[in-house]
């Protein structure tokens, strides 16, 4: 009996005001700690990439080809891939988004929305296999920028469709009504009134999507192969920054590993500056 009363006393103390308050404090500290723990890797990554990459970067490093120790072909390849991917992916994505936002009140559209969501979280290496089996095997015969761009646009389309839909839905209906009251057809008012009103969000989202896709490695690993020389044609292997980083990092030579860090610095500069710029712009726009 006495042991039970001891337990009760402990319980009373444990559920008492002071302990509850302490638990509350502890919980606050733990949550704060979570935030700090998550930010440490980010800072460490940025620090290491800058510290190890900066000594590598000079003009020669940026423009020389692979045999001369530069990453020129990789930079050029990434730009070509970004361009081709945008050319294929953005029109498809934007038009899908327009349909989902403007005519999307039916079962078909909601199925397509689900498909988009699933595709956004698709394992990227699988996309690589698909592009390899379709383009590399049947059309170009060897790894090529065409195959890489197709693989990347498979990833770009669903993201762009989603952001287009979301930014068009933010345009108030009164804008559509006003345009149609002036006698514009529906398609005309979508293209000349709704799309321009959604322009800000659309551009922001698309740029973020392109930045994300530009850093993807898995789909292009199987489809572009890598090359020490500059662009040689749409059916020849090509180099790209993420791929160069991956290939260099597996080499035993310290100078190649150093090259990987230099390439990482360039890649992260491209991706993060795109990200930060876009967000600063969009925040300024929202405030206004």
């Amino acid at each position: 009996m006495s042991s039970w009363s001891w337990l009760n006393k402990f319980r009373q103390w444990f559920n008492g005001y002071r302990v509850r308050k302490f638990k509350n404090r502890l919980f606050f500290v733990l949550c704060l700690l979570c935030v700090v723990i998550a930010i440490v890797p980010l800072l460490s990554i940025l620090f290491e990439v800058i510290a190890r990459g900066t000594p590598e970067v000079n003009l020669h490093f940026l423009i020389a080809n692979g045999l001369q120790g530069g990453i020129g072909p990789a930079i050029q390849g990434t730009l070509i891939l970004i361009g081709l991917t945008s050319l294929i992916g953005i029109p498809l994505g934007v038009l899908s988004g327009v349909y989902l936002a403007e005519f999307g009140n039916n079962k078909y559209a909601s199925w397509m929305r689900t498909t988009n969501d699933i595709l956004t979280e698709f394992p990227s290496i699988v996309v690589g296999i698909t592009a390899y089996s379709i383009i590399v095997v049947n059309i170009t015969g060897k790894p090529s920028p065409l195959a890489g761009a197709i693989a990347l646009s498979f990833m770009l389309v669903p993201i762009v469709a989603r952001t287009t839909e979301e930014s068009m839905k933010l345009v108030p209906n009164s804008v559509r009504e006003a345009s149609m009251a002036l006698g514009a057809r529906r398609w005309r008012s979508i293209i000349s009134v709704v799309l321009p009103s959604a322009k800000g969000g659309l551009i922001t989202g698309t740029l973020l999507a392109v930045a994300r896709v530009a850093g993807e490695t898995a789909p292009i690993l199987l489809t572009i192969l890598g090359n020490s020389y500059f662009f040689q044609g749409f059916n020849q292997p090509i180099d790209a920054l993420p791929l160069r980083i991956f290939l260099d990092s597996r080499m035993p030579q310290p100078e190649l590993q150093a090259q990987a860090w230099g390439a990482a610095l360039i890649l992260i500069l491209i991706v993060l500056s795109l990200n930060i710029a876009v967000r600063l712009i969009s925040r300024g726009r929202l405030k206004r």
């Binding site: 699933i118 394992p123 699988v126 379709i134 498979f154 398609w187 590993q257 990482a264």
Partner: protein
């Protein structure tokens, strides 16, 4: 309905057809993977799923993906074990606790984690994180807890555990941002009622907010799992890339392989059709796993957001 070919109808039909591009891409992927893996599935049948050999020598071929399926599940499991509590802590801090001044920059920093390309995570994991983990976690663990089977072995950093830790960092932005939305979708009246009967903030969050948003948070976790399962480059760079029976997971501190890293390492170099088909088969298994995960997540998240009256839309 007006069926004439007016500009409106043409535009609607055109954009409707293009809206199917996601479905076309999905079907293309499924088609390529299914037809591509027919040879290996015909030859090995169910033993493709249960075998642990990976022998491409012509005439003595034998392919089994069990070690890589297990490797995928183990690394994703570690990622969830570490990443989910961290992400929940972040989400709770950002919604319920942080002062307004730091809220925006902090959530922005957490989102930047998602912007770092996965190959750079891999590079950092290979040359930086690997040594931290070996020195400060694996060596002490195997020294003092080495009698527990999963902590045995000689740690050197390129193993399941490091891959899991990298993945846990990479899923934080996903899980944190979705659970943040779910937590902010919990109506204030719930919080006020709880505070009204004298609960502390911790009690409000634990007993009311988290249980109210339970299924949404579950969906966020599953979404994170989906990311972890499909992630390729970072894992390939730190997991040690063992192939065949030695990739069968016994301890956390051993080199292994996940399904994506297996494909990334071997697909291009595979010379003969049967071996290529084996890699495509591995891709099919991966696709099935990730589709299942995504559908569950989708159902969970949309259900909770519908219940909340579209608070997130």
């Amino acid at each position: 309905m007006n069926r004439k070919l007016t500009g409106d109808n043409i535009f609607k039909i055109l954009s409707g057809v293009i809206a199917a591009s996601a479905a076309v891409i999905l079907l293309l992927n499924a088609d390529v993977l299914i037809t591509g893996s027919v040879p290996v599935l015909q030859k090995f049948g169910a033993s493709f799923l249960t075998g642990n050999n990976w022998n491409p020598v012509v005439g003595r071929e034998s392919f089994g993906v069990l070690p890589y399926v297990l490797g995928t599940l183990i690394t994703s499991g570690i990622a969830l074990l570490i990443g989910v509590p961290l992400s929940l802590g972040i989400a709770i801090f950002l919604v319920e606790m942080s002062p307004k001044v730091v809220k925006v920059p902090l959530s922005y920093l957490v989102e930047l984690l998602a912007a770092v390309p996965s190959v750079i995570y891999g590079l950092w994991g290979l040359f930086v994180l690997r040594f931290w983990i070996t020195d400060y976690i694996e060596i002490p663990l195997s020294k003092y807890l080495g009698w527990i089977p999963i902590f045995s072995g000689a740690p050197f950093g390129l193993d399941f555990f490091t891959a899991g830790v990298i993945l846990s960092i990479m899923i934080i932005p996903t899980v944190a941002s979705v659970s943040r939305e779910v937590i902010s979708a919990v109506p204030d009246s719930v919080r006020e009622a709880a505070y009204g009967i004298g609960a502390t903030k911790w009690e409000v969050i634990r007993h009311w907010v988290l249980s109210y948003g339970r299924s949404g948070i579950f969906g966020a976790v599953i979404l994170g799992l989906g990311r972890a399962v499909g992630e390729t480059m970072a894992v390939t760079m730190v997991i040690g890339n063992a192939v065949g029976p030695i990739a069968m997971p016994i301890t956390l501190f051993q080199p292994g392989q996940t399904l994506p890293s297996l494909i990334a390492n071997g697909f291009l170099e595979a010379p003969n059709p049967l071996e290529k088909s084996a890699y495509v088969g591995a891709g099919l298994v991966l696709l099935v796993i990730s589709l299942l995960i995504n559908i569950v997540a989708h159902v969970m998240v949309t259900r909770v957001l519908k219940v909340k009256g579209g608070a997130v839309e």
